[in-house]
Symmetry: C2
Subunit: 229 residues, 2 copies
Amino acid sequence: MPFTYEYPRPAVTVDCVVFGLDQGVLQLLLIKRNSPPFAGCWALPGGFVDQNETLDAAARRELEEETGLREVFLEQLFTFGDPGRDPRGHTVSVAYYALVRQDRHVPQAATDTSDAVWYSVAKLPKLAFDHQRIISTAVARLQGKVRYQPINFELLPRKFTLTELQGVYEAVLERALDKRNFRKKILAMGLLAETKEKQQGVAHRAPQLYQFDAAKYKKLTKQGFNFEL
Amino acid sequence: MPFTYEYPRPAVTVDCVVFGLDQGVLQLLLIKRNSPPFAGCWALPGGFVDQNETLDAAARRELEEETGLREVFLEQLFTFGDPGRDPRGHTVSVAYYALVRQDRHVPQAATDTSDAVWYSVAKLPKLAFDHQRIISTAVARLQGKVRYQPINFELLPRKFTLTELQGVYEAVLERALDKRNFRKKILAMGLLAETKEKQQGVAHRAPQLYQFDAAKYKKLTKQGFNFEL
DNA sequence: TCAAAAGTGTTAACCATACACCCATGC
DNA sequence: GCATGGGTGTATGGTTAACACTTTTGA
């Protein structure tokens, strides 16, 4: 069933840069393309925006369809619309980035069409379209955002150790941080609540588990509090 | 001449939030709409993206067509795509924000169709579509960006006094800054070059005029320098 | 008892803030 | 000579950065 308009329209798609963490290494979820263009290449999960669908909804739908992931942290990144970026014709892509908790990682191998695979951000394969550029934009955004918004928690399980948290910052920022200073600072903010649990089954002193207190963060933010590194 | 596609496509537009400065007050450039929907309402300059046109090019083209402004600072802001935002049908708008130098301000009253008028950001009229929301997003972005990128210079003439520059920061951030600390900090960065000129014809000590040294900024940035407030 | 990571304080350098008076100019 | 904004320095408190050893646990 064809759709006709008085003026030409570019196609509108969404693409998702999905960040995850494995063994303290920043990973990205990619999809193997089965059909042209770029058949056999790796690409970001994404697809066309449906009629009367919000952009956020389209991104979430495509993410679930292609990777099985849902209820993740998702934010709009940037819109890419260079005419040459898709050989099939003028396509405007609204890019999103997502952060996936470590314990939800597993991309249901089940999803019919596609193999979704985690790749270390440091060693990405050749990518379809301008997806390499989208990823670079996403990494830069994440590095910037992490300094003034507590979003790194979205990459860890609900309960985590301070060392794990520090590891996320180090993975994202690509530099080492001082352990004592990091703990001092992050605890001084009062956004972490100790749980009564300690990590089990490690061959060394069992570390304390903490939880991020989102309600407290919201409250402090309203009072003009500023999260900083 | 109709254009036909296999699947429905939203229309794609660009909208520009144009910031200017008048007597130290932050202003916005708005267009009076002549035709429905929202005839008689004020709106952001903008329009449809042409076939095989980049988004940036579309934004610049619309800006020039509707306001006569060209060669301004222009950056992508955010993309708004809620299905209800345009009563004519599903329309995705890629919003941009622009900063206009004070000495280029004058929106050629000449541009045929439209009256473009500067409004103080503090006292905006009722706006068409979701343009109020786009503007709020732009103001928030500008306030954030100004702290870590030297973009405020784009709102001043090429040569300006430190008091003028401080005024821009105060207008954008909506709070007073300490004169001595501001000067110390901004001069310490070494991004301002004294010119040999002083401001003329003022009924008090003639202030020194400065210029922003973009080349130096670029060089320092490459070396890892970080502009901060 | 060894290996492995957890946890913990102090000091010194730097940076941010607060604050008030004299200066040059045009009218 | 007066009104107007331009221009300048210091002291204090707070923040960041650098740095090493003891503790707990499981194997």
